[in-house]
Symmetry: C4
């Protein structure tokens, strides 16, 4: 699907989300059973989200999760450059719309913060972004004939064929970007966000993926189930024969957030190793 | 095998089970070494069964196990809508033959309780049901040419070719069900139970499976070994060449409950993380 | 290789082992650095061996390890019918050459003790036997075109093509054995031992394997590395192209016990979860 | 690429490394944020490196890591013959340029120390060497048509096609080496080092690999990411279709040590089980 069409789809989905919101008693909140929304709560969830994604094998020594600021929606919160397993609330940095730290004394930030900043710029509906090197998803980024596609009912948030961002498409016209597999400047970040368009997930060739959600629990849930879907699809392909993917009706039914995200969120939290 | 034939097979197997029972000193009880049967004991086992299946990687944040009531065999016990890892005895809800909670003040129940309720209705021999998204089993639900089949001597309870339930077969005649991958109403539950027929296991396309047993330990055992059989079959197929499946004689010999289920049950219990 | 040839090979290997023994200062002992050999020490090692093989994913709720008696080499020691993870010294039963417990009050023994008893009868060089359902090895038992073969330098103890025992070869002439995947009588045990012949490992179709050693540490080491070899061979086959197996020279060089088995034994022991 | 060309490449890379060093404020140190370099520090890191590589599934009961001596760069430090999980500082032996222990009372050393000694001899730029049997990497050593190639942006340190050392190339002209899969003398060690040439990684057919780095953290990082790259490449191949490998520009950009190695090093340390 061309990007323009995808973007127009974002706005239809946003409109659609409003209808769903109206139909629900609790209005805007995406986490009816969760604590009240605030920047303090988002930062606390961000620490949990980092540790959960490490515990579920989505994040390694690198990779990062961020959350949009509630008070200033042009800004977002991100851990400083450090292993996600070790993040605490005091390691979180506030970045502006151009991914520049608000505090000039801020510690060193991740070179790939532009993945997050440029997605927040393009997608007002997105509240949280995960960038990971999730191993089960990587293979689908390096075989052009086999796109990642939804096979699981819990993965209806995946596009019918998940897009793959490849810097070569950008760097072929800009020699200064040649060979750059890292998305560590605004130009590459914007090109990645454009490839994501209105979807939930975009793969990054030979590198990883970026996954968005309307809250940290949703983004975390999607990161975990993108990995599960990838593994199931991979194993089904290895069995041979034709794979049955979700069809348009099924994706439409299951792309909507039809269940209570507090359930996986509470479960994933309970799986964290106890801190002494 | 057509469903009618399958159902007639159920009753033959039930008859056959009686013969086996006669041949055994301890009569009706399926767990000669276990504690005496009672609804309290069944609820205690249900809590263990939930935690065991999480610990063995069969259940994720979702999925559920249930047990039929001994006192009122038309009813069954099921955890409220919550992660199975966190279930305690006080979270168990009693549901009637139509999957309606007995207690009007009962907490919210799982949307997919109809999987259980409709199987209990059709299968008087079934005392326990597991519904999981067991990852190793999923691939066999989404490749039509490769049915799950028994390859392991401990998996003789699997049908020669395990059936796959696909809602598309139902929803093609009922537009209100279009796209519904969740089995969350009585009509879909009944259709699933009919596909299961007299078997032990039925797959649910792009979603998971339902597994039944004559007790919680048997249902848990089967859920664990269905997963192991799936993985072995998958790996044998990947090796190439022709796979040797259990033949009719072997399935007949091993579909009967020929060993003491207390052995895996005690072992799986001992593997649970110690609660502090 | 026909069985007769294999058996003659056993005796050549035994002769060869004597030569090696002569060349070593410490003579007969297979564990120069281990504690002095005695039945008490063998029983203590047997408890460790059971727990190690569970911990390494070789044994599940079933499966068993045994050791020959030093005092009465026609007898062997085996845990009673119970999960191997939970075995203690007081659960060990002494069995005679026909796999009958010495003590008429002995607790219930495993139905498949004949695997061990018949191997000890045929192979005087064998001091320990492992029977497992090691999942990585199973696929090679159910695809006739893909025998398990040594690919790892630590797996030189594997025959060039590991034999597979299939009860169908026996039961086709004996209707009373039809469908019996369990090796739970003397006739099937003897047929299995004959298939093993002079090798270290024999697979059992759709069921598992039996692995022998000149001591418990050697049998445990081989069980762990048979599993690793199986996984590597499986993955190499999945890569496509021709696989390079160990050649005759390499097998000859590495089938001999060229390193100190105390090293993996100490390591595998250190990996056991601490008992409280 | 022929070895001669490879060796000339080493020296170009060394020259290039100097340029990078000049461009950095901190000059020679490879670990700007780590503790000051000394033999005591290297030995402490060596203990950590052994335990980390066991914890990440790279090392089993065998395998070893070593580090060059800072005081006497012709020497190197290596644990005595023992399981890498159990190494402490008091188990470290100093070896000379011919892999002979300095202390005539030194405990027994590993037979395969020549892998390390001969690489240190040929490669003055190398400060640390890992020799492992990393299971995910083995398959690429036993299928000639499928070389290990970089697919991950974190694995730009891999050569375009990673070389495989096979003793058969050496032993075909020297009958005394026939069948020797172990690299346990100087001749085989030198032949292996020559196959490694100027690369970071060399596979050893049917056995494992050797991985080098400019410090222990770099060698450990590379060992972990070689394993991740192998698994991703394997799974991409299993998906079918053409795999996109890193191209020359990407390898050039990412073979340089472009990020702070303290980040994975701190993370991998934090993952170690706590010692009581």
């Amino acid at each position: 699907m061309p990007s323009a069409q995808k973007l127009s789809l974002v706005f239809s989905l946003l409109a659609c989300a409003c209808v769903v919101a109206v139909a629900q008693p609790s209005g805007r909140s995406e986490r009816p059973q969760g604590p009240p929304d605030s920047d303090e709560q988002r930062i606390a969830d961000l620490v949990l989200a980092s540790r959960i994604l490490v515990n579920e094998g989505v994040l390694d020594s690198f990779g990062h999760v961020t959350v949009r600021s509630l008070k200033n929606p042009a800004h977002y919160f991100m851990p400083r450059a450090m292993p996600p397993a070790l993040v605490t609330a005091s390691e979180i940095v506030e970045l502006d719309r151009d991914s520049v730290p608000i505090d000039p004394q801020a510690p060193r930030t991740n070179g790939e913060r532009f993945i997050h900043g440029e997605i927040y710029r393009l997608r007002p509906d997105v509240q949280a972004v995960v960038h990971s090197h999730s191993p089960a998803v990587i293979p689908f980024s390096i075989t052009r004939e086999r796109p990642l596609r939804p096979v699981l009912h819990m993965a209806g948030f995946l596009a019918e064929r998940v897009s793959v961002f490849d810097h070569r498409n950008v760097s072929k016209d800009d020699p200064s970007l040649r060979g750059k597999l890292m998305v560590n400047n605004a130009k590459l970040g914007a090109a990645l966000a454009k490839t994501l368009a209105g979807d939930s997930v975009v793969l990054i060739r030979g590198h990883g993926n970026a996954i968005v959600g309307s809250s940290l629990p949703w983004a975390v849930f999607r990161a975990v189930y993108t990995q599960l879907n990838a593994r199931s699809q991979m194993e089904a392909i290895a069995l041979g024969g034709e794979v049955t993917y979700l069809n348009e009706d099924e994706i439409k039914m299951h792309s909507v957030e039809v269940f209570d995200v507090e359930r996986p969120w509470q479960n994933l939290k309970s799986r964290l190793p106890k801190t002494p």
